[in-house]
C-alpha cells in the first residue's frame, strides 16, 4: 500500500519508487515558473513573479540569486529550501577558489548542489529539498552553460528549459522556437525567454523578472521598463502575425 512506504524516505516502495522524492517533485510543480535559455554569448533567466501584497516591499522577493561572479541560479519550489541550497553553493564556490585557485565551472557547482540534494534522499529523519534549480553561467574558458537539478539529485545540461508551474507548456514552446540563430543573437535570446514566460504569465512584464549574464560580466537584472519594451515588441509582432493570417484566410475563402 502506498501509505506505508511514503513516511520514512529511506524506504523504497515495492515497485521501486521513492515517494518522498516524487512528492517533492510535486511541490516543485506548484512553484512559480522559471525559464532559462543559453545563448552563444549570453545566458538568460526569467522567473514568474507572484503578485506581492499591498504592504509588502517588492524588492525583498528575489528568486534569481548569484552564486558567484560568473554563476547564478533561479529555482521553482520551496523558497526556504532554496535559501539553504544557495547558501551552501555560495560557500562551496569560495572554498573551491581557495583550494583549487580557480573559479568553479558551472558543471562543478551543479554537481555539488545535486550531490547535496541526493544526500538528503538517502538519510533518515530528513526530507528531500523541495526545489528544482536552473543554474547558468560561464566557465573560466568562456563556454556558457545551463543546467537543471531536481529534488532527486539528478542534473542535466540544457540549451533551454523551464521548471515550475506549466513547465511542460513552456518547454514545448521553447522546443518549437529555439534554434541556433536565436542563440547567436543576444537580443533574440532575451526575447525568447520573455516570450516563453508570456505563455504562462498573464499580466505581462509586471509579473516577470528577467536577468541576463554576459561573459565576464556580473549578473544584470533587467529594469522593468526594458522588459516592458520587449513585451510591447512581442505583442506588436503577434498582432502583425494575426493580421497576416486573417488576410490569408480571407484570400483563400
Amino acid at each position: 500500500k502506498m501509505s506505508r512506504y511514503d513516511r520514512a524516505i529511506t524506504v523504497f516502495s515495492p515497485d521501486g519508487h521513492l515517494f518522498q522524492v516524487e512528492y517533492a517533485q510535486e511541490a516543485v510543480k506548484k512553484g512559480a515558473t522559471a525559464v532559462g535559455v543559453r545563448g552563444k554569448d549570453i545566458v538568460v533567466l526569467g522567473v514568474e513573479k507572484k503578485s506581492v501584497a499591498q504592504l509588502q516591499e517588492e524588492r525583498t522577493v528575489r528568486k534569481i540569486c548569484t552564486i558567484d561572479d560568473h554563476v547564478c541560479m533561479a529555482f521553482a519550489g520551496l523558497t526556504a529550501d532554496a535559501r539553504v541550497i544557495v547558501n551552501k553553493a555560495r560557500i562551496e564556490c569560495q572554498s573551491h577558489r581557495l583550494t583549487v585557485e580557480d573559479p568553479v565551472t558551472v558543471e562543478y557547482i551543479t554537481r555539488y548542489i545535486a550531490t547535496v540534494k541526493q544526500r538528503y534522499t538517502q538519510s533518515n529523519g530528513r526530507r528531500p529539498f523541495g526545489l528544482s534549480a536552473l543554474i547558468v553561467g560561464f566557465d573560466y574558458d568562456g563556454t556558457p552553460h545551463l543546467y537543471q537539478t531536481d529534488p532527486s539529485g539528478t542534473y542535466h545540461a540544457w540549451k533551454a528549459n523551464a521548471i515550475g508551474r506549466s513547465a511542460k507548456t513552456v518547454r514545448e514552446f521553447l522546443e518549437e522556437n529555439y534554434n541556433a540563430d536565436t542563440a547567436a543573437s543576444e537580443v533574440e535570446t532575451v526575447k525568447l525567454t520573455i516570450k516563453a514566460l508570456l505563455e504562462v504569465v498573464q499580466s505581462g512584464s509586471k509579473s516577470m523578472e528577467i536577468a541576463v549574464m554576459r561573459r565576464n560580466h556580473p549578473l544584470q537584472i533587467l529594469e522593468s521598463a526594458e522588459v516592458e519594451k520587449v513585451v510591447a515588441e512581442i505583442e506588436k509582432q503577434k498582432e502583425e502575425e494575426a493580421e497576416k493570417k486573417q488576410k490569408k484566410m480571407k484570400k483563400s475563402s
Binding site: T99, E101, T105, Y108
Partner: protein, 268 residues
Amino acid sequence: MALADICKLNFSSKSSLTTLPSNEEVFNAEAQDCFSIPTAPQAASYLSHLSKPDSDVHIKFNHGTTTLAFKFQHGVVVATDSRATAGDYIASQTVKKVIEINPYLLGTMAGGAADCSFWERVLAKQCRVYELRNKERISVAAASKVLANMVYNYKGMGLSMGTMICGWDKRGPGLYYVDSDGQRLNGSMFAVGSGATYAYGVMDAGYSNDMCVEDALALGKRAIYHATHRDAYSGGFVNLYHMKESGWEHISWTDVKDLHYAYKNEKK
C-alpha cells in the same frame, strides 16, 4: 576484537586512550591517507619533543641533498642529486629524488625520504580522483595546494618535507615550492636542501628565460654538480628531467664523477 574477547578484556569506548582502530579503519582506503594522531588535545605540542634538536627523542632527518627546478620559455628543468646520508655515513648513492606523480606532474624529495614519497603518493591518488571527477587534469596550483593543505594538518608534529611540485597545465609551466612548515610559494626558480646555496649560485649566473632547451638542461646539470662538489651531503648521480607541454621527459642519470672530468676538460 577477538583477542580482547579471549583475554576477557573490556575496552570501554569512553576511555580515549584505549580505543584501538577497528579492522575497518585499518583497511579502509580513506584511512590510509593519514596518520593516526594521538588522541590527546593539542597533539602538536604533545609531539613537539620529537622535533626539538636537544631532546632525547629527537628524530634526526637527513636534509643532505640538493634539488633544484627552474622555469624557462620551454618548460621546467628539474634536477636532483642521489645521495642519502645517515650522519657521516653515506647510506646510498643511487636514491631517486624525483617522484613521478603522473605523466605531467613531478615532485622532488628533500628532507625525510619517507615523508616525501608517502605524501606525494597520496597526492598522486588525489590528482587522479580529481581528474576522474572533473574530466580534466588538475592544475599545478591546485595539486600543490592539495599537498600543502594535507601536510598542514600535521604542522608541528615532526614531518620533514621540502618539495617542488613541477608541471605543465592550462596556464603553462608551473612550479611551486611546498614544505612541511606549511609554506607554499610560486616561483620561477627554487633550490632545496643542504647544497641549495651552491646550486643557486651557478643557476643565477647562467639563467635566462630565453634559453634553449639544451642550455637549460646543461645549466641544471652543472648546478647540481657544483653543489655535489662542495656539499658533503650531496653526491652520487645527477637526475635530470624536462617538463614539456606534452608531459615530463627523463633526460639523464649522470655520475657526478664523469661530470667532474668532463667540465675539467672543457676548461682546457
